[in-house]
């Protein structure tokens, strides 16, 4: 199921002033896989995501998506890239003055100007329901939703253009376990039907075990390992052992085996 790399990052360096976040970091994401990205808080997972999607200009390094080098694209190419990916930001980043449905319609309106209103509202509604929200959240404003509902609304917006590449930053943080499991299901389902490739930052060990084909571990400013989770467990790195074989890690693994 996993094929050629569609994202390759080589020799990435990011820093804020004196503070170096990434140094000589390499990572690749293969066609059709769900890649989990883990690392301690503040290890630079969100910054990595932001550099891949072009929101953070790296000091050094090369980033290729769909074979194109991101910072060497023309404006037109960049637009074309942007419509092929969807991003779910860590805090949702919904537009607070628009309703949930209007939020979902924003990318559609931006890229496809000739879709009529009726179809737009139908699309918004089924995307919202597909993302696991009741249809009556469509006319609500983000400030009227709970944190978990906002995450789902943001997912609906990320999926608005039927992207082939989906970036998720801690999508299940703040969801109840049932909701989180449903979210995992949804991602799996979408992956198989829409042929998605997913770049998934998460701390949720259940999610890692349940849906990730490979897991990349960020520590010491680098990706120290990238492999299927079973292989990671074999590795002898203290942080990895602590992470996956700590009390929570074992519980998740047992659950998965059961």
């Amino acid at each position: 199921m996993s094929g050629d790399p569609i994202i390759t990052v080589t020799g990435l360096r990011n820093s804020f002033g004196e503070h170096v976040v990434h140094e000589d970091l390499d990572i690749d994401v293969r066609q059709g896989e769900i890649l989990g990205v883990v690392g301690g808080s503040g290890s630079g997972k969100s910054v990595l995501l932001r550099s891949i999607i072009g929101l953070q200009r790296p000091d050094k390094g090369e980033i290729r998506i769909f074979g194109e080098q991101v910072d060497h694209t023309s404006a037109e190419q960049e637009l074309d890239l942007r419509r092929r990916w969807g991003v779910l930001f860590q805090n949702g980043a919904l537009f607070s003055t628009l309703t949930v449905a209007e939020n979902v319609q924003v990318p559609l309106r931006e890229f496809y100007k000739n879709i009529d209103e009726q179809l737009l509202s139908e699309i918004a509604t089924f995307k919202i329901v597909m993302s696991g929200l009741p249809a009556d959240t469509a006319p609500k404003y983000p400030s009227e939703l709970s944190g978990g509902m906002r995450k789902r609304a943001a997912l609906a917006r990320a999926l608005a253009l039927d992207p082939t590449l989906l970036f998720l930053d801690e999508p299940t943080a703040g969801l109840d376990p049932i909701g989180a499991a449903a979210f995992d299901e949804l991602i799996l389902e979408l992956r198989s039907t829409l042929d998605l490739t997913v770049f998934l930052i998460t701390h949720d060990l259940d999610t890692l075990h349940a849906i990730c084909d490979r897991v990349a571990v960020i520590a010491d400013k680098k990706v120290i390992a990238i492999a299927p989770i079973a292989e990671l467990l074999e590795l002898d790195h203290p942080w990895i052992q602590e992470y996956f074989n700590g009390p929570r890690g074992r519980a998740a693994a047992i659950e998965k085996a059961a």
Binding site: T97, Y112, D116, S121, F126, A138, S143, D162, S192, T193
Partner: protein, 369 residues
């Protein structure tokens, strides 16, 4: 080959069949959705075996054919079938905006809401004033709770950093008053009265009033925006739960800063206006500075200075209070921060001018005219 979605209609053994080609994806739909709305007769079957790719939007269109006309979808790949199934599960029509009123109802509702808001804003401001008094009382009873550091920080941003712009503004206004006054008074050969005009109007009115407007624009708006964004980020709630009363930590230092600084800034502004006026008198009217100062001392009563200095702290208080009050009213979304910031400035300037009118009547009735 073309990827654009397209379809043809065929009648086959009494059955109306739609044959789709191309890609049924949102990027390639073109006019297919509209044509599907305007079908000549309801289709019995939709054949998608020649379709290259289907996404959720394409699946939705197929699902609607099935839902609205009972058409069976034939020739769909496994993926397409799964997608159609998924969107059909998600089919739950809903509004995309909250219900809107008709025009008349909306107008009536607007008037009603406006009236209520104006009333409740005024009442709210009073209640906020009361809350501030209570907080002040508590701080006086327990002086260690007083946040000197926060106050000094505000002195810097409200006072020291405003000196440049207020000085420039005042200097120019001084020149303008002197120039305009001289032009009018020259017609009566009474140019020397320009000095009366400058001295009295700056100390009594313009110095403090213009400063109030500048402080409302600079600091009142900043207060509303700062406190408003803190409210949105739930920082104000976090303060409350930690046991820090926002009145004490956020509002009191700010209101105190504007209240204490307005007399100083007002005096400074009046002084610079007089300097500006004096300069024009010297250059334009050939009145030497010594004469200018001497005449000022003769014609400007000390009460004029008091009038300005008594009004200034009241104006400062109003500016600080409305700024903080509007900031605390922010809730919901970011647009509110902008709206409340505007409201803070408008309300502060309005109240300052209304109060100024009251002061004018009051001072002239006690003989300080």
């Amino acid at each position: 080959m073309s990827f654009e979605a397209d379809f043809t209609e065929q009648d086959d053994a009494g059955e109306h069949i739609l044959r789709f080609t191309g890609r049924l994806t949102v990027a390639r739909l073109g006019n297919v959705p509209r044509r599907l709305e305007e079908l000549s007769s309801p289709p019995g079957k939709a054949d998608v075996s020649a379709v290259d790719r289907v996404d959720t939007v394409g699946a939705w269109l197929l699902h609607k054919l099935n839902r609205d006309h009972g058409a069976t979808i034939i020739g769909a790949s496994d993926d397409a079938q799964r997608l159609i199934k998924q969107v059909s599960i998600a089919d739950d029509p809903a509004k995309t905006r909250p219900d809107a009123d008709g025009p008349i109802a909306r107008m009536l509702r607007g008037i009603g809401r406006g009236t209520l808001e104006a009333g409740s804003s005024l009442l709210g401001l009073l209640a906020f004033f009361g809350g501030l008094l209570i907080a002040t009382g508590q701080v006086i009873a327990n002086p260690r709770r007083f946040r000197l550091h926060a106050l000094v920080e505000r002195f810097e941003s409200v006072g020291v950093s405003a000196l440049g712009i207020i000085g420039l503004m005042s200097f120019l206004i001084g020149i303008v008053i002197a120039q305009q006054g001289a032009v009018q008074l020259r017609q009566f050969g009474a140019e020397i009265f320009t000095i009366n005009l400058i001295g009295r109007i700056t100390l009594r009115e313009l110095g403090v009033l213009m400063t109030a407007i500048m402080v409302a624009g600079r600091s009142g708006s900043a207060f509303a925006a700062q406190i408003g964004s803190m409210k949105l980020a739930e920082e104000v709630d976090a303060m409350r739960t930690i046991g820090i009363p926002p009145m004490e930590a956020l509002v009191l230092p700010r209101v105190l800063a504007t209240t204490l600084l307005m007399p100083l800034l007002g005096f400074y502004a009046s002084f610079i206006m007089i300097v500006g006026g004096g300069l024009l008198c010297w250059v334009g009217l050939d009145i030497p500075p010594t004469t200018y100062i001497q005449r000022l001392r003769e014609v400007v009563p000390l009460t004029d200075l008091w009038v300005g200095l008594i009004k200034a702290p009241v104006f400062g208080f109003i500016i600080g209070l409305t700024g903080c009050f509007q900031g605390m009213q922010v809730q919901g979304n970011n647009e509110q921060v902008g709206l409340k910031t505007t409201a803070a400035v408008v309300q502060a300037i309005f109240l300052v001018i209304v109060l100024d009118a009251f002061f004018a009547v009051f001072f002239s009735s006690i003989g300080w005219g």
